[in-house]
Symmetry: C2
Subunit: 411 residues, 2 copies
């Protein structure tokens, strides 16, 4: 066991392989329902012996925000990653945060590699590789996405012939396979001795599309279970959490419940209002860029209080903060958010204008995330907790503590 | 099948017996962990065939508030029951809402009895019988609490010799038995043909005391499972939900995390501040009257905005509303709440002053509820949902829809 440090936290992993999985969009109901229907026998046995509990994610409950928090062990106030997308105050431009320069602290993956661990970071989405994978290859580790596994090269990704190692060709990104492939890659790398400290981050395409009891979801979780079994059989400590939950965002007729915040505010307060949807990313088929948190930018800050009061009064809006309070209450970096931060309810999303969102890409209603009701997610660990981590688990553990649980928490 | 109406909602129960259970304080983790450890085989099989999902409770996430909502099908804005305790604006006195005169609409139990159903309402706590049980005996139904089952008489409770019918003497109120006894009573009444429309409301003594994985909790849920099995064997449609969830409210050393709001505000703003803890009830051993929501009353309303801003800035405080916004955003009756309504985080409780709360009654740390983090609770139904209720379940179903699910939702 060698201890390493990252961002003032210390990690003392045993020498066994460690696999941390981020099951993108995995609301706890997916685990309960898949186990109930007999689709996850390996996970069922794993948490019976080990641990299953709830942890609190970071807000906004988006993918980049929480993956950044998980690989650093820090909240967004420290990572600086407060959305997939933000309005850069220096340039006035809307910017996709798809490169590591936006991140304000280094990853624990790099610290683990420096301490001699064979690190592998496999993601479904290429965007996460580019935002969070910097430094690993230079330290002898492996980084690639299932989306672009065919582009993996020794010099740039730490490995040649990744598809041969995994034994399968590149999957379609809009599929459950894109996630299963990440787990297959992780299992293959451990089985072949090429990695012993893994972060495996999936995509929520299936959770956006299917509810926990849908046959397609049950089948998907069943496939996930086989690969978790492979990781366990390869001797891994397995820890899993989610970046965010997932809720249906429709009325009782299955129609999406959308509040177009820019339209609403411009009608009432004029043109000097701009809304940014920080869920926006290149993968629009998932959600049409509709989530449960948006940022509002104002030309005239003297309107702030009046607009905040107006927004609070809207049915379906659940939280409204000015920039200072959003930073304080949601652990965000004040220069990476809007003048006003708006959250919506369990069954409601917030958007920009009707023209900015293509609802036709959504088949079978909208399922999405981003707000308070997608904040609580499961934590699953293959080992029973030691006394220290029992206490931590009984306080207010976070999803970005998952590496600490995996490295330090096992009995 | 005969349809009845209550508070503008309609219920069309099949003629089979219907048993609705409120598992007091049943955070979803209790169900997951008890099933995982093999303690609830009947419930496991029941939800595999039927339905398990999450529903949103009423805030404050307290017992009286949510039991009132469940038996009326209405939120607290309609029932008027916004806490166990409130400051009566007409008298200036702190009042326990322990009689039906405080309730502003009639119960669906009375409507079911009027439609010819043999209603039984059995609770663990006597307080719930007195607040919600009015009218049932006059309509030929049965109402008693396990706490005072020995006082049950035909004229006042609709039944003589209740202990003989159940086959067991009165349990201790501070025990798991107080809850199990309610289920045993319900099963006995159905088995003996004395009731066919039941509301069985338990107590959260065990959940306040034990975490989901504690052996005592697993044993308790195992006993619950046997009685759920009896209800199923007697032919019941069984539906279960919770009034609220339950979270540990301690730091990582196991010490309760308490913000004494009256002390805090009086130090800063003077003596004209009074805090009411609406979790307060006669059963203090559970929680020392500490929950995650308090009401603040001000002598000088001109201080309201300043105090709200001050409270928002406190670490651990998660929501602060003035009276108008609390009524609007939390579905509360404006005349039954404070000038300011304050909610705290997953691991934090709010109280009055240190002298008002006896922490020595708490053995093994504090577990409590009342806030947003105890709002989401499970819904369990013995039958698969029909198409209409599948859609309702996929929107924003509430725990106070549980009778609608049981009566109207089965395939």
């Amino acid at each position: 066991m060698s201890t390493f440090h990252a961002n003032n936290r210390s990690y003392s992993p045993p020498s066994r392989p460690i696999a941390v999985i981020c099951i993108d969009g995995c609301a706890d109901e997916y685990i309960s329902e898949s186990i109930a229907q007999g689709k996850m026998p390996r996970l069922e046995a794993m948490v019976k012996k080990g641990y299953r509990g709830m942890v609190r994610g970071a807000l906004p409950s988006f993918t980049n925000v929480n993956n950044s928090a998980i690989v650093t062990g820090m909240p967004p106030a420290v990572t600086g990653i407060c959305g997939n997308f933000f309005l850069n105050p220096e340039t006035g431009e809307e910017v996709m945060m798809n490169s590591p320069e936006f991140r304000r602290c280094d990853t624990l993956l790099n610290a683990a590699a420096d301490a001699g661990r064979k690190v592998a970071f496999i993601t479904a989405k290429e965007k996460l590789r580019t935002v969070l994978g910097d430094g690993i290859v230079e330290r002898g580790g492996i980084v690639f996405s299932s989306e672009k596994v065919n582009e993996a090269k020794k010099e740039t990704h730490g490995v040649d012939n990744a598809e041969d190692i995994i034994g399968k060709p590149r999957p379609e990104i809009y599929s459950g396979d894109a996630s299963i492939y990440v787990l297959e890659a992780g299992a293959a790398l451990v089985e072949q001795g090429k990695a012993d400290f893994l972060y495996l981050s999936l995509t929520d395409f299936m959770q956006h599309k299917y509810a926990p009891s849908d046959p397609e979801s049950l089948e998907f979780y069943g496939q996930m279970d086989e690969q978790i079994g492979r990781l366990l059989d390869a001797g891994c400590i397995v820890a899993a959490t989610a970046d965010h939950g997932m809720n249906a965002k429709n009325d009782e007729n299955g129609e999406p419940k959308v509040i177009y915040v820019q339209t609403l505010l411009q009608e009432k307060f004029g043109e000097g209002v701009k809304v940014i949807c920080p869920i926006t990313d290149p993968y629009v088929v998932h959600h049409g860029a509709l989530g449960s948190l948006v940022m509002v930018h104002l030309d005239d800050l003297s309107q702030t209080d009046e607009i905040i009061d107006f927004l609070w009064r809207q049915d379906g809006i659940t939280e409204v903060y000015n920039r200072e309070m959003a930073a304080l209450k949601l652990e965000l970096a004040p220069d990476r958010i809007g003048d006003i931060c708006v959250l919506s309810g369990r069954d409601v999303v917030v958007g920009k204008t009707p023209a900015d969102h293509d609802l036709s890409v959504l088949k079978g209603g909208l399922r999405s995330h981003g707000g308070r009701y997608e904040e609580m997610v499961p934590l699953l660990l293959s080992e029973p907790l030691n006394d220290e981590y029992k206490k931590i688990a009984a306080a207010d553990p976070r999803n970005f503590d998952v590496f600490a649980f995996a490295c330090n928490g096992a009995l």
